[in-house]
C-alpha cells in the first residue's frame, strides 16, 4: 500500500479521523447499534483516551479503526487517506505497516522470542528489520536484556512492554491501545502508561487508547467520552478525579439517549 509522502502533506491533516462512523452488529430485530455516528479527528502527536461505560462502543470503535472490523457506514481516514472500503488484505497490510496495536491480552506469539515478536509484523510484510532497530525498540521499553526470552519467561508487564515495542518499531501513523493495562497491577500499569506517554512526547507518536481506568486516562492529553455509541463529551488535560466524576455521571445517562 503506497502512502502519500508525509512531507508533501499539509501538517494539519489529522493522523486519524472518522466521519459519521456507524456499526450495527447483527441484523433484524436482534441487531445492536454499537456506534451511531461518531465524528472525531486525532491530531498528530496527541494522546487521546476513549472512555465510557460497558457497552458504550469503545472496543468496537477501535476494532473499526484498526480494520479488524468493518463499519456499517461512515468514513475512516488514516493520514488523510480514506481506508474504509479497502478489502481484507489491504486492511491487514494497513494494520501491519501503518498502525501499531497494543492489546489487553498482549497478543504475543508464544513460540517467538521477545525480539522475534517485535520483528514479526515486518517479517510478515516480507522485510527483515536490522537487529539494531529491534534492539533499540526493546531498549526503549527497558527490555534490552530480555530480547531472547520467550513470552512465558516474562512477567505480564514485561510482555506488554514487548507488545509496545512491537507496535512502535514500524513508526506507525497511529498507535491504538485497547485496555493496555487491563491485565496489569497498578504499579506495572503506571510503568506501561509512562511508556505510552514517552512515545507521544519523545517520538511524536499519535496514540489512541481505550480504557475504563480514570488513572490511565489521566496520562492522555484529551479524554473522549462515549455513551451508547455516541460522543458524549470531551475533557482536555484530564486528571483522574475529574474523569472518575464524569464517568459516574455518564453511567446515569446510559440508555436515556435511546
Amino acid at each position: 500500500m503506497s502512502m502519500p509522502n508525509v512531507s508533501g502533506m499539509a501538517h494539519d491533516t489529522p493522523a486519524l479521523a472518522v466521519e459519521g462512523l456507524r456499526k450495527r452488529h447483527g441484523s433484524g430485530p436482534g441487531a445492536v447499534d454499537a456506534l451511531v455516528g461518531i465524528d472525531l479527528a486525532f491530531a498528530r502527536g496527541t494522546f487521546t483516551a476513549i472512555m465510557g461505560p460497558s457497552g458504550s462502543g469503545k472496543s468496537t470503535f477501535l476494532a473499526c479503526v484498526a480494520g479488524l472490523d468493518r463499519p456499517t457506514a461512515g468514513r475512516i481516514l488514516l493520514d488523510g487517506v480514506d481506508v474504509t472500503d479497502w478489502d481484507e488484505t489491504a486492511r491487514t497490510r494497513m494494520r501491519r505497516d501503518r498502525i501499531g496495536f497494543v492489546f489487553q491480552d498482549f497478543s504475543l506469539i508464544p513460540y517467538l522470542t521477545a525480539a522475534e515478536n517485535v520483528a514479526l509484523p515486518a517479517r510478515l510484510a516480507g522485510r527483515r528489520l536490522p537487529p539494531e532497530t529491534v534492539r533499540e525498540a526493546l531498549a526503549r521499553v527497558g527490555l534490552a536484556d530480555r530480547a531472547d526470552h520467550l513470552p512465558s519467561a516474562l512477567s505480564g508487564g514485561q510482555q506488554q512492554r514487548v507488545a509496545i515495542a512491537r507496535a512502535l518499531v514500524t513508526q506507525p501513523a497511529v498507535l491504538l491501545a485497547d485496555e493496555p493495562t487491563g491485565a496489569l497491577d497498578s504499579a506495572t500499569a503506571r510503568e506501561v502508561l509512562g511508556m505510552l506517554r514517552a512515545a507521544v512526547d519523545d517520538l511524536g507518536q499519535t496514540t489512541v487508547m481505550v480504557t475504563h481506568d480514570p488513572v490511565a486516562a489521566s496520562y492522555a492529553d484529551t479524554v473522549v467520552f462515549l455513551v451508547d455509541g455516541r460522543v458524549a463529551g470531551q475533557m482536555a488535560k484530564p486528571n483522574a478525579d475529574a474523569v472518575a466524576a464524569q464517568l459516574a455521571h455518564l453511567d446515569q445517562l446510559v440508555g436515556v439517549a435511546k
Partner: protein, 456 residues
C-alpha cells in the same frame, strides 16, 4: 468432577468426535477379526489353522495400528486440555481432580464408542465369516461361533488402552504448579520421555531383526511363504517404532529446511512453528510415517510375490489368499493411518485458533496464515515420506533379496511414489480442511478475531 466432565464434553465436539471415530472403527474392525479366532477353537480341523492365521495376522497387526491410533488420538486430546486444566486448578481443582476430568471424559467417550463398535462387530464378524466361506477359504464344515466373549474382550482392551493413554496425557497436562501451568500452557516444551525412546528403539530393532532373519534364515527355506512370515510385519513394526520417535525426527529435519522457508512471511511462520514446537506437530508426523512405511512395504512385497510366485512355487495354492490378506491389511492400516492424520491435523490446527487469530491481528493476511499451515503440513508430509520409505525397506528389501530380485525389486517401482503422493495430498488436505473449518465459521461474519474482546 463427573458432572464437570460431562458438561465439558458438550463444549468440545471436535475432540469428542476424534476419539469416538478412532475407538468406534477400531473396535468394529478388531472385534470382527477376533470373532474368527473365537470361531477357530471349535472349527473343523481343515479350517482351524487358516482361521487362526487370518484372525491372528490381520487382527493382530491391525490391532497394533488401531491401538496406536486410539492412543495417539486420546493423547493429543488430553494434552491439549493443558490450558483448561490450568484454569480449573487456579480455581481450586487439585491436580488429581483435573486429571480425573480428562480421564473420565476419555473413558466415557471410549466406552460409548466401543459399545457401538462391538455392536457392529457382532454383525461384521458373521459377514466376514460368510465372505470367507463363499470364497471357499473356509469349508462348509465349520460354523460361525463368534460370541460376546471375543467382542467384549476386544472392546474392553480398546477402552483400557484409551483410558491409559488419557492417564498419560493428563499427567502432562497437570504437571507443575497451577499458576505456572496457566502461563506456560501455551508452550509445553518437553523432551521425548525415556520410555518412548526405549519403545521406539526396541520396535525399530525388532523390525531390523525380522529383516535380518528374512535374509539369512527364512529366505532360504523351502517353504515359499516362510520369508513373508518374518518380513511382512517388519515394515509395520519399524514404522510404528519410527513414528514413536517422530518429535525427534521433526526437529532433526525441520532445522535445515528452515532457512529455505524463512525467505517470506508465511514460510517464516511455518519454519518457526516447525522448529519451535515439534512436539505439537509430531502428532501429524507419526501417522504419516506409519502409513507410508506399512503401505509401501506391504504392497512392494505383494508385487514381488506376484512376479516370482511361478519361480518359487505355491504348493499349497494359498498365494491368492495371502495376497488378499495382505491387501486387506494394507487397507485397514491405511484407513487408520488416514484417520490419525486427519484427527491430529484437526486437533493441532483447531488448538491454534487463538494463536492464528493473534497473528492475524498483528498483521498476517489470511492468505499468509493459510499458506503457513499448508507449508507446515507439506514439510511434515515430506519428512514422514522420507522416514516412512526408510521404514518400508525393512520389509521390501529383505523380501526382494529372498526372492532373488536383489536389493531393488524388479518392477512396479511406481508404488512408492504413488503412496508418497497420496500421503502428501492427505496430510496437506487434512491440515487445510482443519484450517478452513477453524476460521470458516468466523469468516462468514466480519470481525474475525474479536472473540477475545468483550461482546458489544
Amino acid at each position: 468432577m463427573i458432572a464437570v466432565a460431562l458438561r465439558s464434553l458438550r463444549h468440545r465436539p471436535t475432540a469428542v468426535i476424534a476419539t469416538f471415530v478412532a475407538v468406534f472403527l477400531g473396535t468394529a474392525l478388531m472385534a470382527s477379526f477376533a470373532t474368527l479366532v473365537e470361531s477357530a477353537f471349535d472349527a473343523h480341523d481343515d479350517d482351524r489353522e487358516i482361521m487362526m492365521i487370518i484372525g491372528g495376522v490381520v487382527g493382530g497387526w491391525g490391532t497394533l495400528i488401531v491401538l496406536f491410533a486410539v492412543a495417539s488420538t486420546v493423547g493429543i486430546v488430553a494434552e491439549q486440555r493443558g490450558r483448561e486444566t490450568a484454569l480449573l486448578r487456579t480455581l481450586g481443582a487439585t491436580p488429581r481432580q483435573a486429571r480425573a476430568l480428562i480421564v473420565i471424559e476419555a473413558a466415557v467417550v471410549a466406552l460409548v464408542a466401543a459399545a457401538g463398535g462391538a455392536l457392529v462387530a457382532s454383525l461384521g464378524g458373521a459377514v466376514l465369516f460368510d465372505a470367507l466361506q463363499r470364497a471357499t477359504i473356509v469349508t462348509r464344515a465349520t460354523d460361525y461361533d463368534g460370541g460376546p466373549a471375543s467382542v467384549v474382550t476386544t472392546a474392553a482392551v480398546v477402552v483400557l488402552v484409551s483410558t491409559v493413554a488419557a492417564v498419560i496425557g493428563s499427567r502432562r497436562a497437570t504437571r507443575g504448579p497451577a499458576g505456572l501451568a496457566l502461563r506456560a500452557a501455551e508452550v509445553p516444551v518437553r523432551r521425548l520421555r525415556w520410555w518412548r525412546v526405549v519403545a521406539g528403539i526396541v520396535l525399530v530393532a525388532s523390525g531390523l531383526a525380522s529383516a535380518i532373519v528374512t535374509i539369512t534364515v527364512t529366505g532360504k527355506s523351502t517353504n515359499p511363504y516362510a520369508a513373508m512370515e518374518t518380513s511382512g510385519s517388519a515394515a509395520v513394526v519399524a514404522g510404528v517404532g519410527l513414528a514413536t520417535l517422530a518429535p525427534w525426527f521433526l526437529r532433526l529435519f525441520a532445522t535445515p529446511v528452515g532457512p529455505l522457508l524463512r525467505r517470506f512471511g508465511a514460510g517464516y511462520l511455518a519454519a518457526e512453528n516447525l522448529t519451535r514446537r515439534p512436539h505439537v506437530l509430531a502428532g501429524m508426523l507419526g501417522p504419516v510415517i506409519v502409513l507410508v512405511s506399512t503401505a509401501v512395504g506391504t504392497l512392494v512385497m505383494v508385487a514381488v510375490d506376484a512376479r516370482t510366485r511361478a519361480a518359487f512355487g505355491d504348493p499349497e495354492g494359498v498365494g491368492d489368499m495371502i495376497t488378499m490378506l495382505n491387501c486387506v491389511l494394507v487397507g485397514v492400516i491405511s484407513l487408520f493411518a488416514a484417520i490419525m492424520v486427519i484427527n491430529s491435523a484437526v486437533a493441532v490446527v483447531a488448538h491454534r485458533r487463538s494463536e492464528l487469530d493473534r497473528i492475524w491481528r498483528v498483521g498476517a493476511t489470511r492468505a499468509q496464515l493459510g499458506a503457513s499451515i499448508a507449508l507446515e503440513a507439506g514439510v511434515i508430509a515430506a519428512i514422514g515420506i522420507v522416514i516412512g520409505l526408510l521404514g518400508s525397506t525393512a520389509t521390501a528389501v529383505p523380501y526382494s533379496i529372498a526372492r532373488h530380485e536383489g536389493v531393488v525389486p524388479n518392477g512396479q517401482l511406481w508404488l512408492p511414489p504413488l503412496v508418497a503422493a497420496l500421503a502428501l495430498v492427505l496430510t496437506v488436505g487434512a491440515a487445510w480442511g482443519a484450517y478452513r473449518g477453524t476460521t470458516g465459521g468466523i469468516r462468514r461474519r466480519e470481525g474475525w478475531g474479536r472473540e477475545l474482546q468483550p461482546a458489544p
